[in-house]
């Protein structure tokens, strides 16, 4: 029996339409809109001015704290202005607008495809290079990676777990990277193992990617300490806590971090970014984005410069289908619906999903029949029906007491509800209100 996490979860239709499509390089846009916050934490400080010329890979906004990240130019050209632009969550954020001219890279960047296996630098240097390169977690949370590589005093990391699960339906960027950049991933793993000072690394991959499992297993033979774990397909296995449970059967305590159970988890995309930063001096300014949907003419996996409007990606995939009902930045379970094609690709963008009209209409909700399907589907062992009622009645004390803060917002409850109740909508409301209350209490 392949391993998986034991509690809850759902299995939505996989729809991996682009699993066999090679990653294509998308040309630079005419104007790149580079948001100055593309990560969890403090916004970065812009250090360039209007009218200035920049090169590819040049730093344009500096990290403004420990939990923050540098931002680099993804294109070369002239800075038009620094102004507000829509970001993926629908808010207006400051962004650096660069009018593209040529494609001139910073001289220290090694833009070749040659694999460099030897790791000649110390753990501290690795962490500082990762911080320099502005790398953030590409699995969805966009948490600055150098923070995760710095193991806090008093904690010990025993396992490095690599997230190659890609449990979101439709998404294939990680799958393609595992096939096309396998060696880079292996070297990246060695780099991170050195930084974390661990001897065991486990790559978790779901069974619906047999080619990736085969390739990674084959390569792992020549890299000591690295093993591959084939996992049963089950959403949300790509969630950090679920993956750790599935692979090494440890439970991250409520409110805790993976390091509390001796683990650090990184996504395969992040690992490649770390490889490139350390071995090739290349900062993070590109992203592999799956552009997909059942009505999309040419569903594809693209290597895209950060700051490219998603309009360009959709054009390259055959244009916006006639029956478009929803455009989603990310996958169907946790992605965000966007309302403009001007939204630029950010570091953490992994997919643009276009759903047809007949699939996106929410059905009207009916009374809760107490079937307990949401309770059995919740991977965190919560009771979504109860959280929804508590949030609906604005009983925030009860919402907090029922552990709303444990919710990982995977959406399994809403997915499974036969009465079409918007469980997660209310739980999110509860979560944000309760977190405000908790913050106020602490101050």
């Amino acid at each position: 029996m392949p391993k998986t996490f034991p509690k809850g979860g759902v299995h939505p239709p996989e729809n991996k339409l682009t699993a066999t499509h090679k990653i294509e390089v998308l040309p630079s846009p005419k104007i790149a809109y580079i948001p100055i916050i593309q990560h969890i934490g403090a916004p970065s400080t812009v250090i360039v001015k209007k009218g200035e010329d920049v090169k590819v890979g040049q730093i344009i906004a500096k990290s403004s704290g420990f939990v923050s990240a540098n931002i680099h130019a993804s294109v070369s050209g002239k800075i038009l202005k620094i102004d507000e632009t829509l970001d993926t969550s629908g808010y207006k954020r400051m962004a650096v607008h660069i009018e593209v001219a040529g494609d001139e890279w910073m001289p220290e960047i090694d833009n070749s495809t040659t694999l460099i296996k030897d790791i000649n630098i110390s753990a501290e240097e690795i962490i500082s290079k990762v911080a320099q390169a502005g790398i953030v977690g590409l699995g969805g949370a966009t948490f600055p990676s150098h923070v995760k590589l710095s193991v806090p005093k008093g904690k010990k990391c025993e396992y490095f777990i690599i997230n190659g699960v890609e449990c979101e339906p439709y998404l294939t960027s990680d799958h393609r990277l595992m096939l096309e950049k396998s060696e880079e991933i292996m070297v990246g793993i060695q780099i991170i193992m050195k930084a974390l000072n661990v001897s065991k690394a486990i790559i978790g991959i779901e069974n619906n990617k047999p080619d990736a499992i085969e390739k990674m297993t084959q390569l792992a033979n020549s890299y000591p300490g690295v093993t591959v774990e084939a996992l049963k397909v089950q959403y949300p296995q790509g969630g950090e806590k679920q993956l750790i449970k599935a692979v090494i059967n440890r439970e991250v305590p409520s409110g805790g971090l993976p390091i509390d159970v001796g683990c650090v988890v990184h996504n395969v995309g992040t690992i490649i970014a770390i490889y490139e930063a350390v071995q090739k001096n290349k900062p993070l300014f590109q992203s592999v984005v799956t552009v997909t949907g059942k009505s999309v003419k040419k569903p594809s996996n693209f290597l895209v410069r950060v700051g490219t409007p998603i309009r360009d990606l959709i054009e390259a995939a055959g244009g916006l289908p006639e029956d478009t009902g929803k455009i989603i930045n990310g996958g169907p379970m946790m992605g965000k619906a966007v309302y403009s094609l001007d939204v630029p690709v950010a570091k953490g963008t992994s997919a643009v999903l276009i759903l047809p009209q007949d699939e996106v209409k929410r059905r009207p909700m009916s009374s809760c029949i107490r079937c307990a399907k949401c309770v059995s589907a919740c991977p965190m062992g919560l009771e979504p029906y109860l959280l929804m009622v508590a949030a609906e009645m604005e009983n925030w004390e009860r919402t907090e007491a029922e552990n709303v803060m444990d919710c990982i917002e995977c959406g399994s409850c809403s997915y499974t509800c036969p009465a079409d109740r918007p469980l997660l909508d209310y739980i999110r409301l509860g979560k944000s209100t309760v977190s405000k209350i908790i913050r106020a209490r602490k101050n």
Partner: protein, 339 residues
């Protein structure tokens, strides 16, 4: 592109709907209904149709004229209530009594609390118990097995059932023991366990055939309409509890297989106790709920005044559901024990 929608995730929703689940339960009830018509003939058909139609009717009228809601009769839940009510009464029950039962089930037990999802007690069982208390004679005189057959070939087949002339095996045991008969002699007058398994015995119209009910239960588990927790824990508890009593004194207590095949244990455990609205939300809670039903059923059967106790046991445990939900929560991921 006319309009694009914006809403929070998840953007794809599962295919389950209340309707699909409810009609799944109805499909699962078909084998038991078939057996019932086969053994009891036209009477079973008439009672079932009356119960279903009057349940639908009452729900529609109450929703429309009293609650002024949009009627929800198409969701299938009223059909289930009607079916289960019919399954819990004798097949020769006068139809006007069936209609009263449906009124109590839908009107009092379900719609008073606001309709589907809000009732604390299983509506069909409330209807049944109301009838049992109000019409004790009609509710406990079971049909003569051959009197209402559809065709002659069924009559011929059912002749060996004549010995019962109306009483259920559990009632025969209870009365016999009270008179001082030994269990061995009582058991000799009964159909064999195998015959009971198929349903060749007296009883309410839907409770007799264990095999038909089990087939329905397996179908519901396969379709993920219910989970195994409640049926298995209920049946197992009845089996173990009566098994212990039987081992202690086989002359005073019927064997455990007899107990799980007779009365409403199968029907109750598979179809009545698993009612979504009136059962607990966590697996732990479901198991405790099932054990409670099992224990109460045996207590009533062996020491109580009624020969049969499943309906009362389920209704009593229904009352404990809020308490069970409060104290038996699912185990949280990464739960930190409070010191």
């Amino acid at each position: 592109m006319d309009k694009i929608l914006i809403s929070p995730s998840p953007h794809n929703l599962g295919k389950d709907s209340v309707k699909r689940l409810m009609y799944g339960v109805i499909i699962a009830l078909i084998p038991a209904f078939g057996f019932s018509v086969y053994f009891y003939g036209i009477g079973a058909l008439a009672v079932t149709l009356t119960a279903v139609l009057s349940s639908l009717c009452f729900e529609f009228l109450i929703a429309k004229f009293i609650l002024k809601q949009k009627p929800t009769i198409t969701d299938g839940s009223a059909i289930i209530t009607g079916l289960l009510l019919a399954f819990n009464v004798p097949s020769n029950l006068p139809l006007w009594i069936v209609i009263i039962g449906a009124l109590v089930a839908i009107g009092v037990a379900k719609m008073t609390f606001g309709g589907l999802g809000n009732n604390p007690f299983n509506p069909a069982l409330v209807g049944r118990v109301f009838l049992l208390i109000s019409f004790p004679v009609q509710m406990t005189s079971w049909p003569l097995p051959c009197s209402s057959r559809l065709t002659n070939w069924i009559t011929a087949r059912a002749e060996n059932l004549d010995a019962f002339s109306g009483a259920t095996p559990l009632a025969i045991v209870k009365e016999g023991l009270a008179k001082g008969d030994s269990m061995t002699s009582l058991m000799d007058s009964m159909p064999s366990h195998m015959e009971m398994f198929y349903g060749m015995m007296g009883g309410s119209l839907g409770e007799i055939s264990a095999i038909a009910l089990i087939v329905g239960g397996i179908y519901m588990i396969y379709r993920r309409i219910i989970t195994w927790h409640i049926p298995v824990s209920t049946i197992l508890t009845v089996f173990i509890f009566t098994g212990i009593l039987w081992l202690i004194n086989p002359e005073q207590n019927a064997d455990p297989i007899f107990h799980i095949l007779t009365g409403g244990v199968m029907l109750g455990a598979i179809f009545m106790a698993t009612d979504y609205v009136t059962s607990p939300m966590s697996y732990k809670g479901m198991i405790i709920f099932g054990i409670g039903i099992g224990i109460l059923t045996v207590l009533i059967r062996v020491w109580g005044a009624y020969p049969e106790g499943v309906s009362f046991a389920i209704l009593i445990m229904n009352a404990f559901v809020p308490l069970i939900n409060k104290y038996l929560k699912p185990k949280r991921f990464g739960e930190v024990k409070k010191k």
